[in-house]
Every structure is written in C-alpha cells, then in structure tokens.
Amino acid sequence: MLRLLARRLLISVPILVIVTFVVFLLLQLAPGDPARRAAGGESASLQDVAAARHRLGLDEHWWVQYWHFFSGLFSGNLGRSFFSDQPVVSAISDRIPVSLSLMAGALVVALLIAVPAGIVAALRPGSVADRVVMLISAAGVAMPSFFIGLLLVLLFALKLEIFPATGYVPIEQSATQWFESLVLPWLTLGFAAAAEIARFLRASLLDVLDRDYIRTAKAKGIGMFSVVGKHAMKNAFSPVLTVIGLQVRFLLGGTVVVEQIFDLPGLGSLTVKAVFDRDYPIIQGVAITTALIVIVVNLMVDVAYGYLDPKLRAA
C-alpha cells in the first residue's frame, strides 16, 4: 500500500512541474505588456514601465524567468496582485475556505441524493422509479449548472423566499445564516455531480448484483439490507470513487459560475474578477492552486481504492 502511494507520489512530481510550466506559459499568451500593466497602465511613464519590467524580472531570458517563477513557488511566493498589490497567496488563502466549504457541501449533497437514487434504480431496473432516476440524471448532466441555480433562486429565493438569493455569511458570525447562505449554492453545484454519480452507481451496482458472491450472500439469509448495503456496495463503490475524483475537477470549475450567481467570495469569483481586471498573478495563482488540489484529491482517491479493494493493498 505504501509502495503504491509512493509510486503515485513520484508520478505526481513531473506532472506538477509541467503544471507550473503551463501556467507560466499562459502568461506569455497575454497580448500587451504586463510590465506596462504593472506600472499602472497607459498613463505610466516609460521609466516606470522599465522599472516595473526589471522588478518583475521580465527583462530576462524566458528560462530564467521560469526558474524564478518555479523557485518562487517553493517559497510560497506567487507574486503580488497587479490590482491590489496583495500577495497572491494571501488573497487565495482568504478565499479558499469559502470555495472548499462550497465544494465539500456540494459533494455531500450530491452523495445524499445520488446514493439512494442509484440504489433504488439498480434494485428495480426498468421500473418507473428507475426510469425517473435515469431521466432526471440525464437532464442534470445536460443542464448548465447555472441554469439549475437560476431555477432554484427563482423558486426558493424569489417566490418562496426561504433562502437568500445572494450573499455569504462566514460561519464564525452565525452558523445558521452560514448554512442558509450555502444551501442553494450547494444544491446548484451538487446537482450535476449527483446526476453523474447516480448513473455510475446504478451501472456499477447492476454489474455487482449479478455476481456469484451476492448469490451466496443472499443464500446466507443475512437480509436484503446487508446484501445490498454491505456486500454489494463495498464492491460497487470503487468505480464510483473514480467518478467522485473526476467530479472534484468539475466542482472546482463550477465554483466559478456558482460563486458569481450567489455572490460568494471564493476562488471562483476571485478568478473572474481577476480576469476582468487583467490581474495575471492572481489568475496564475488560482490555476496552480486548483491543479494542486485536484492532484491531491486524486491521490486520496487512490488511497481509498486501497481500502475498498484488499487485493491492491498487497501491491
């Protein structure tokens, strides 16, 4: 198991390096002159621009620049925002808790919806319940997440006025209000994920329920609850785990839109704001951070695989 983990960690290193290179490359795409932007834009004098260029190290060869960038990452320095001059790292760390709580909650909501739905559908394939589940999940995957968000806002916030349409309340201030401000965003972000997870779980369960060891389990008289909930689920869950790992990527991306709709101060809205401000260091910082989160999550998924499938542990 440790060997498995070590091997995966080892592979992640070159991936991370390439990630940083890609992010570095992104900067080169930008039209115009980042030095000028840093110096204050059109109004900056040539001297200011030159000074900015030197300060940002933009007058060096690209591989030197990359080296600065890369080594800077190690010391936790992602640069400073063009806009606010706040260190990128602190801007990100301010907003990460919001995004993470959004994603985590969305994932929980997704599982709460998807697991029962998937089980019900798999236990009675072809039935009305099954078709309903499949239809809703097909629609869920086809809908842009913000559409669901809009519908939810329409129904719950505007018509029924149960939940706030926008705004975020930090948990330290008021736990109930924090919860309320996140319910609709959680549902919005989680719904698409739930749809995907439900489909996969159903397919995986249908396959597992056909297996010989399920027949044995039934023959032991331990009851349908144990047969499905214990024996079937433990084996059916691994493919679902992969899907969940994949969903984290999409959930992270989804924060961009959801945070915009509900006006939540997270990484997503930070990125959008940075794009409109042309605040490149922030964009780079967010890109690297999110990629890092994805890589870490994938590692955790591999670890979880080891738990679910004892054969892997010996590897």
Binding site: D212, T216, K218, A219, K220, G223, M224, D309
Partner: protein, 357 residues
C-alpha cells in the same frame, strides 16, 4: 397419491418437492426450465440430483431457497421443508430459513466469496444474524467451524481475504460458512466440479464426515456419477427439466430403468475398459425452448420406438417404494447398469467399487 409419495424413502421427509415448475421470462415468451419436478429428501439422507448442464438441476436447487432472480421467474408447485411451505414466503421470512435451516454451497469457489471482506467476517455475520451472538463469540464460532472443515491455523486465517486461499480451501471456507449455523439440510451445487480431482476427493471425504457429525441431510447436485456412487443414498436423474428416474443408488446403478440413465452409466470410463474407446450418448440435450414431442430423450435414445416414444407426454411411473421411471417402455427393455461387476472411476481415480452400498 401425491407425486412425492413416489419418492419417499420411508424415514420421514425433511424436504418435499412436489410438482415444482419454474418459468423464466425470455424474448419469445416464458421458457419452462423445470417441469413438474417432485422428489424428497429424508432426514440424515444424501440425495443426489444428477443431470447434464442445462437439465434444470441447479434451477431446482436455487428455487428451494428462492434464489432465482425474482422479476423474471415464475415458480409454481410446492416445496415443503420440515412441514412448512417455502414457496411464496416473503423475503424476510425466507431469510430466516436461509443459512440457518437450509444452507447452500455453490460451484465456483473462486467467485462465490466476497473479495472485499475477510472470511472471518463473512462467517461471523451469518452467525450473528441467525444466532444473535456477540462479535467476540461469533468470531470464536468462525474459528471453530473453520477448524471443523479442516482449514489449518484457523485463528490466523480468519483475518485473511478470499483471494489468499486456493480453490480447495475456498470451498472449505464455503462449507464452514454453510455449516456455521448447523443447518438441517445442506444443498451442494456441484461443489467439487471446479476443483482438482485430488482435492475433489478430499473435499468429498470432508463433506461426508461432517454430515455424519452434524446429522445433516444433503442434497447433492452433480453431473458426475462417480461422485454419486460415493456419496448418495438415493439418486434423482433429471433430463431437460424433468425427473426421468429415481431410486436407491445401488438399485439405479445396477438396474437402470431409463435409457438416459443407462447412457450416463455407460459413458463413465471404467477401469476394465482401459484402451477401448470412450462412449458418450450421441447428440445433445435439447434446450428448454426447443423440446421434442413425446419423450424428450427419444431423439437420442437407442431404444426409441416411433409411434410410442415420440407422442404424448410420458409420466413418471411408480416402480415401487422410492423407485420411479419416466420411460414408457421400461417394462420391455433390459437395460445394462454397473453392477457388482466393474469398479466405477471418475477422472482416472477409482472412487467407488460398484454397489458397495
């Protein structure tokens, strides 16, 4: 007279199957896999259910415990265990019988155990459920029953996973699981077919001794006549979803009353025919959706008589206490069996010397 009376061996029935018919939904309409099957298993008796693959023997066995997939299966008839009707019981009530009064072991030890749980856990959960034992006591029971079936170092092995065991060992684990709640009836669906011949002999011996120890009845499903000769008091022969012959093993082997049984017996390789050609019944068993008219066996039968065997629906006839045959011509035919004559072999190993029972 009930059909099951035909089969009674006289020592009181533990399991009485009467007119069991099982239909399965298929694209062209329901297909009948098991057709009015009746037989009984007495207490402390071993009955062998014999037939080729596709004869309906496994379906019969699984229907006893309601293990056929519910949505596509229709089951009719009666299955009485200890006087109680099992067909039509709700799942929850059937669960009290499964693994408890009636246990079942299956053919494929490699895939019949859940790879994600330790074998200790898989045994313990059954005992916890049916006997209400605590975790600790269930664990001890698991160890003791693994000892019983001959798994070495049981106390360490309960923490092991199925993939860490060989096929023969896994089958023993399955047996341990099945016996953990001391069932009155064990249904064994070809438990040794997937195993090495040498392991086969060991497992059978183990099964035999356990049966004696626990005073259990066994319904043994197999296509291997050598195994039947070794283990069974009585034998029920199935063909194309129907019972074609039944009786005490020695009787049926020495004096078969149905050409199919004769054919099965003749195709078993024998020690005294070394060097000569292996013979098998010509043709193939018909599939349930393409059954020939009249006697289902007649196209392959050496004794078939046109006009007699290809018409009507031959019924199972009572030939005496616990003896029956479906052959319409059984009275006229002199069929050859395996008597006190040659030894019976299976897979190159002499398993029984004929008629010792």
């Amino acid at each position: 007279m009930r059909a099951a009376d035909v089969q009674r061996s006289g020592s009181g029935e533990l399991l009485a199957i009467d007119g069991l018919s099982v239909d399965v939904a298929a694209e062209g309409g329901p297909v009948r896999l098991v057709n009015e099957v009746s037989f009984a298993v007495g207490s402390q008796e071993t009955v062998a259910l014999v037939g080729e693959s596709g004869s309906g023997k496994s379906v019969t066995a699984m229907s006893i415990l309601g293990l056929m997939p519910p949505r596509i299966t229709t089951t009719r008839g009666s299955v009485r265990f200890d006087g109680r009707e099992l067909l039509g019981l709700r799942s929850r009530e059937l669960d009290r019988v499964r693994g408890n009064d009636i246990a079942m072991i299956f053919q494929e030890p490699m895939t019949s155990l859940n790879p994600a749980f330790t074998i200790g856990e898989q045994i313990a959960e059954q005992v916890r459920r049916h006997r209400g034992l605590s975790r600790q006591m269930a664990r001890e029971r698991a160890i003791s029953v693994l000892d019983l079936v001959g798994v070495p170092s049981a106390a360490q092995r309960i923490k092991a996973y199925p993939h860490e065991f060989s096929g023969g060992m896994r089958q023993r684990v399955m047996m341990a699981m099945a016996l953990s709640c001391e069932p009155k009836l064990l249904i064994a669906d070809e438990p040794t077919t997937a195993l090495d011949v040498t392991i086969q002999a060991l497992v059978l011996a183990e099964l035999h001794s356990l049966q004696q120890q626990l005073a259990m009845s066994v319904l043994f499903i197999t296509h291997d006549l050598g195994v039947v000769a070794e283990t069974a008091d009585r034998v029920v022969v199935m063909y194309a979803g129907q019972v074609v012959e039944s009786g005490r093993t020695a009787d049926v082997f020495a004096n078969p009353q149905h050409p199919y049984t004769e054919g099965l017996l003749q195709s078993v390789p024998r020690g005294d025919t070394a060097g000569s050609r292996l013979w098998s019944i010509p043709g193939v068993m018909p599939t349930p959706d393409a059954l020939p008219p009249g006697c289902h066996f007649h196209p392959r039968c050496a004794h078939a008589q046109p006009g007699v065997c290809d018409q009507g629906e031959p019924q199972l006839q009572n030939l005496g206490p616990g003896r029956s045959s479906r052959c319409v011509r059984h009275g006229e035919l002199r069929l050859s069996g395996i008597g006190a004559g040659g030894p019976v072999e299976s897979g190159g190993v002499t398993i029984a010397d004929g008629g010792a029972r």
